[in-house]
């Protein structure tokens, strides 16, 4: 490497000082978090604040015969007990969901899932509130319940949603049955069917992405404080989308938005759990409006797991048609979607099945058809996007399992089959058969890098030897190599197809430079641990040449932050990150004019150099952004507005499509069913990388959640609708002991339509990870012709596979 010139050294030093894009800037947030000085909702104490808690139904499906609140109200310290009867005159006993349905806030005539909210007790403190919930006497008449979505549409199925039974047209079209919610179709059915009818090879498999829950470590909570004098509501809460909450609260309360102040402070993890509105938020608001004092609601873990929105519960009949050489010709998928008692799915409004139509994945599949039927059951409502954009975990699980099933049928290596069908680099932007335009990708390069690094050929050789040893009775372990090559779709999204309750899914950034050269910037997104205070500053630092440490980032206060749609679906970097860059460039353009004026040259004579505008050919004549900032307030050019700031509302032209190649090596003890992950390698391509340290952290976290989901994390119901797994005793959250060691790697294929080429990465590891683990398990048993093994892969379930295969004799 050549020795650097003094100019280059100087440039490198100035760049380093900025701590801008691409460097492992240490996080701003950590200063307060490591000292226990975070501000989470339950840390909030306001004068006169009281506490609310719910009475919940023990039944999965029952009529409410009577509710007697006398004993509860008589307990000293109890201030009020709300029931549906109190909310109904305000029109608040139901609230709209993001999916075009309505959801009960407090149950009126019947309850539809175990632990559904029936009454809200408000008391002086949380201990008294808890006591009082035991003193509300509710008489129920139990009804037969439905917990199997395949039974929801049987002719004799009990009607669950009596409140909408006369509405046979729902938000997404006609309903086929009282328990049917929507049917959604996309693709060319006739062409797809024709290909399947004549294909040389087809596979068909029921793939279940089982019900689970995002379970962030902090549960959902809110503090509502209504000022009766001013007629203004301040609402603190665990809100991934604070502005949307403000709009929703305005719609349901009748208060205008300018009199509602929503503040999302520090949030202890979201993962999609904290996007939508919950009964607790509404009841705390109503309580405060009625009582005129702040009302706090904090749910406990069991409430969180059993009543806030679940994730997944997709039953996907998945088919591929191919030539006998392994060229995939078509894909056909039918999904039965179990939404529980209310469709509280957090999707953009035109997409009742989210972006399930990304299910053709990383492969050039010319023809496809997808149909989704959503149904009601007596379970908690939802489902949310658990670290997966919208249903992308489901879609990627379907295609990545399906290609392995196909590979097995063809007797082909699963990596080879994938490579044969990859969309080629020269095909981008690629138009998928189900309607998406993938922005960029180089799958072959990523796959080769991953396979070389993991030593794929050696692994298959080792596996072959171990299989032979197993068949000879020399070992009781079987080895699996799991692969996942996923394409994610994130960064919702363009207004032509993405809106939440009618608000287009742009996002925003407002940047203001102060006279002495430091910056405050606010975005419409809301971090729950992704490090936005650190990373947005890095974007601005590089764009504007002001050190990141001199840039304050704020999110979450709807009074000050420009309107945004929040953080979920990995959309912060693609949308608000873009807005940040565009706003910064507006400022930079103005700064260039100011610099030209200061240097008495024409704008075109200036070039940008890290943190300053220099006169071309005269390097000693320059003005730094800091100097320009002062000048903007001190002596702006004639006819130019003073100050130095800009706002951008960014309408993304497309989603972004991060992708990755993941490999998992697993060893399974067939006698106990215990699986051990020997190695996990994740190569991610998220386009331009803003902070490699934070990207790596996101990958570690997403893989851990993928591991948990694939290997045992589930919410189940027994046949009488009792929820199981709703505590940390049974809900599988791995500790540091079970969690494998993660190896990360990357390639960089920038997004051509994004101002800084970045795609977002938060959810990729989860989307790509789940099928990788499941494929590893399935691959382990494949040589024994086990057929498709459903997740979750608990030890006892794998033992049962062994039983079925006669391995234990």
């Amino acid at each position: 490497m050549n020795k650097q010139t003094p100019i280059e050294i100087d440039r490198a030093e100035r760049t380093e000082k900025l701590q801008g894009m691409g460097c492992k800037r240490k996080r701003v947030e950590d200063i307060r978090f490591t000292q226990g000085k975070g501000n989470y909702v339950d840390d909030l104490k306001l004068p006169g604040m009281v506490f609310g808690d719910f009475v919940r139904s023990p039944h999965a499906h029952a009529r409410i015969i009577s509710i007697d609140t006398t004993r509860a109200k008589a307990l000293p310290g109890v201030i009020a007990v709300l029931t549906a009867a109190d909310l109904k005159p305000l029109g608040l006993h139901y609230m709209p969901t993001l999916a075009g349905d309505v959801q009960a806030v407090l149950a009126e005539e019947k309850v539809l899932f175990q632990n559904q909210e029936v009454a809200f007790v408000i008391a002086k403190d949380r201990y008294i509130a808890s006591d009082a919930t035991e003193l509300v006497d509710v008489v129920y008449e139990a009804l037969p319940c439905i917990v199997d979505p395949f039974k929801s549409m049987l002719p004799d199925a009990p009607i669950l949603r009596e409140d909408i039974k006369d509405k046979m047209v729902g938000a997404h079209g006609p309903r086929k049955h009282a328990n049917h919610i929507f049917e959604w179709q996309i693709g060319d059915k006739a062409a797809t069917d024709a290909i399947f009818d004549s294909a040389e090879v087809t596979i068909k498999e029921m793939l279940v992405d089982h019900r689970t829950h995002p379970s962030p470590l902090e549960t959902c909570q809110s503090v509502a404080s209504f000022d009766k004098i001013k007629g203004e509501l301040t609402l603190w809460g665990t809100f991934q989308a604070p502005h949307v909450i403000r709009t929703v609260v305005s719609l349901i309360s009748g208060l205008p938005e300018h009199k509602i102040h929503v503040i999302a402070p520090d949030i202890g993890g979201g993962f999609g759990n904290k996007v939508g509105a919950y009964a607790g938020y509404v009841c705390s608001v109503v309580g405060s409006i009625v009582l005129g004092v702040p009302v706090k609601w904090v749910e406990d873990r069991m409430e969180n797991l059993s009543t806030t929105s679940f994730a997944r519960d997709y039953h996907m009949t998945t088919e591929l048609a191919a030539t006998k050489e392994g060229k995939i010709l078509a894909m056909r998928v039918h999904v039965l979607a179990d939404h529980g008692a209310f469709d509280a799915c957090a999707d953009p409004s035109k997409w009742p099945a989210g972006f399930m139509n990304i299910c053709t994945g990383s492969y050039d599949i010319p023809t496809a058809h997808l149909a989704v039927d959503g149904v009601y059951t007596n379970k908690a409502s939802g489902g949310v996007a658990y670290r997966c954009s919208f249903r992308v975990t489901e879609a990627v699980f379907a295609i990545e399992r399906a290609v392995e099933v196909l590979a097995h049928k063809l007797g082909m290596d699963a990596a080879e089959l994938r490579i044969k069908n990859f969309i080629k680099a020269e095909q981008f932007p690629y138009h998928s058969a189900l309607g998406w335009e993938y922005d960029s990708g180089d799958y072959h390069t990523a796959m080769k890098k991953a396979m070389d690094t993991i030593g794929y050929a050696e692994l298959r050789k080792e596996q072959a030897e171990k299989r032979a040893a197993f068949l000879r009775g020399e070992t009781r372990d079987i080895m699996g190599v799991g692969i996942s090559f996923f394409t994610e779709i994130v960064g919702a999204g363009p207004s032509k197809n993405c809106d939440i309750l009618g608000i287009a899914m742009f996002d925003s950034a407002e940047i203001r430079i102060h006279p002495t050269g430091s910056i405050i910037a606010r975005m419409g997104t809301k971090s729950q641990g992704q490090g936005h205070e650190t990373t947005y500053a890095q974007i601005i630092a590089t764009e504007l040449g002001i050190p990141a440490d001199d840039i304050m980032i704020e999110e979450g206060n709807t009074d000050t932050a420009p309107y945004g749609l929040g953080t979920y679906g990995s959309r912060s970097t693609p949308v608000a990150g873009a807005a940040t860059a565009v706003a910064a460039r507006k400022i930079k353009a103005k700064a260039q004019m100011i610099a030209a004026h200061m240097l008495e040259v024409h704008e075109g004579d200036l070039e940008w150099d890290v943190d300053r505008f220099r006169v071309k050919g005269l390097p000693e004549k320059f003005k730094t952004m800091k100097e320009i900032a002062w000048s903007a307030y001190n002596s702006p050019p004639p006819n130019m507005e003073p100050g130095l700031e800009a706002v951008n509302y960014y309408e993304p032209p497309n989603m972004t499509y991060p992708f990755g190649a993941y490999f998992c090596v697993m060893d399974i003890d067939v006698d106990t069913g215990v699986a051990k992950t020997r190695r996990f390698y994740a190569l991610d391509d998220c386009g331009t990388r803003i902070n490699p340290m934070i990207i790596e952290g996101q990958v570690h976290g997403g893989l851990t959640e993928a591991f948990a989901c694939a290997m045992g994390q589930e919410i189940r119901y027994d046949e009488t609708g009792n929820v199981m797994g709703a505590s940390f005793m049974d809900f599988f959250l791995p500790t540091a002991v079970e969690t494998p060691h993660w190896e990360t790697d990357f390639t960089v294929t920038p997004s051509p339509h994004h101002p800084i080429g970045a795609k977002g990465v938060g959810e990729s590891p989860h989307v790509g990870g789940v099928p990788c683990f499941s494929n590893a398990v399935n691959d382990a048993y494949a040589f024994l012709n086990a057929g498709h093994i459903q997740m979750p892969h608990d030890a006892w379930r794998l033992w049962k596979v062994g039983e079925r295969l006669g391995l234990h004799n």
């Binding site: 006591d131 035991e134 500790t735 002991v737 079970e738 033992w799």
Partner: protein, 288 residues
């Protein structure tokens, strides 16, 4: 999440505890480490009106040798058991078992007495105590008595403890020097109750098993002392055939619950596998 109300007592002597329990009757519960009881109280599955905190009673702590026995005070924590050099020397199986109970924080507070006294079939120490032929020293209004661990458990949460009694200490006969031991626990994740677990204590002489005692955890309503399985090993070389016989005998007495750890038939088979692995471990450790 929030327990019901109760009155709190913190006596400083065993005699005061017994007097209080007698006076307050059924609505009083002793509080040892609290890691089981407080969890129950938070869900309101238990709502005692009185809690009698045993933590101020020095007599209930400590590990001492007493002739051929080791006597462990009921309030000795799992952490103390793990740290004890005396136990490491004479009863290393105790440390091995304590290390697979719960997590570091719970082990700092959870006690041996608390783990053996309440009859929770999920606890690990009861089957180990049966394996070791431990005796529980009880004290109550009628005075002191001893009940063998093997006689103590009648059903889930149903023990020989009478009204007003507490476990004050656990007396364990020292196994012979050179004994082989092993506690093998299958669990969904660290800190979980056992899907199935086996405690094994053996002695060997010139390659032949001279004694064998087996305890099984969480595969029935009570801990199980697998007497027949143990007998089947005595006089054998602990070869495959005799181990298979012992495993079959152990499986035969299991009656596990089906729960989220797995169906009953899985847990029975896992008890057998844990026993097998514990035996292999014990064999490798035995001198003789």
């Amino acid at each position: 999440m929030i327990p019901g109300s109760f009155e709190y007592h913190r006596p400083d002597s065993v005699a005061s505890v017994v007097a209080l329990l007698s006076k307050l009757g059924e609505e009083a519960r002793p509080l040892a480490g609290g890691q089981s009881l407080i969890a129950l109280m938070k869900t309101r599955l238990a709502s005692p009106e009185h809690l009698i905190d045993l933590s101020a009673i020095a007599d209930l702590r400590g590990i001492r040798e007493q002739g051929n026995d080791i006597v462990i005070g009921a309030m000795t924590t799992q952490h103390d058991l793990i740290a004890s050099e005396m136990l490491a020397k004479h009863l290393p199986i105790i440390r091995e078992t304590a290390l697979v109970i719960a997590d570091p924080q719970i082990r700092y507070k959870g006690t041996l007495g608390g783990n053996v006294a309440n009859g929770d079939p999920g606890n690990d120490m009861p089957a180990l105590m049966q394996c070791l032929n431990a005796a529980y020293q009880l004290i109550g209004p009628k005075g002191e008595r001893e009940v063998l661990a093997r006689d103590f458990y009648h059903g889930a949460y149903d023990t020989a403890l009478q009204a007003g009694e507490i476990v004050s200490a656990i007396r364990i006969p020292k196994p012979a020097a050179g004994h082989g031991y092993g506690y093998e626990k299958l669990k969904r994740k660290i800190g979980d109750y056992a899907t199935a677990a086996a405690a094994v204590l053996i002695t060997m002489s010139a390659g032949t098993c001279t004694s064998a005692s087996i305890g099984l955890t969480n595969v029935s309503e009570t801990p199980l002392w697998a007497e027949a399985a143990g007998k089947a090993l005595v006089g054998t070389k602990l070869d495959e055939a005799s181990i298979a016989t012992a495993v079959a005998a152990a499986e035969a007495i299991t009656n596990p619950a089906s729960d989220m750890r797995g169906p009953a038939e899985y847990r029975t088979k896992m008890a057998g596998i844990m026993l097998r692995r514990a035996l292999e471990r014990a064999k490798s450790r035995a001198h003789g």
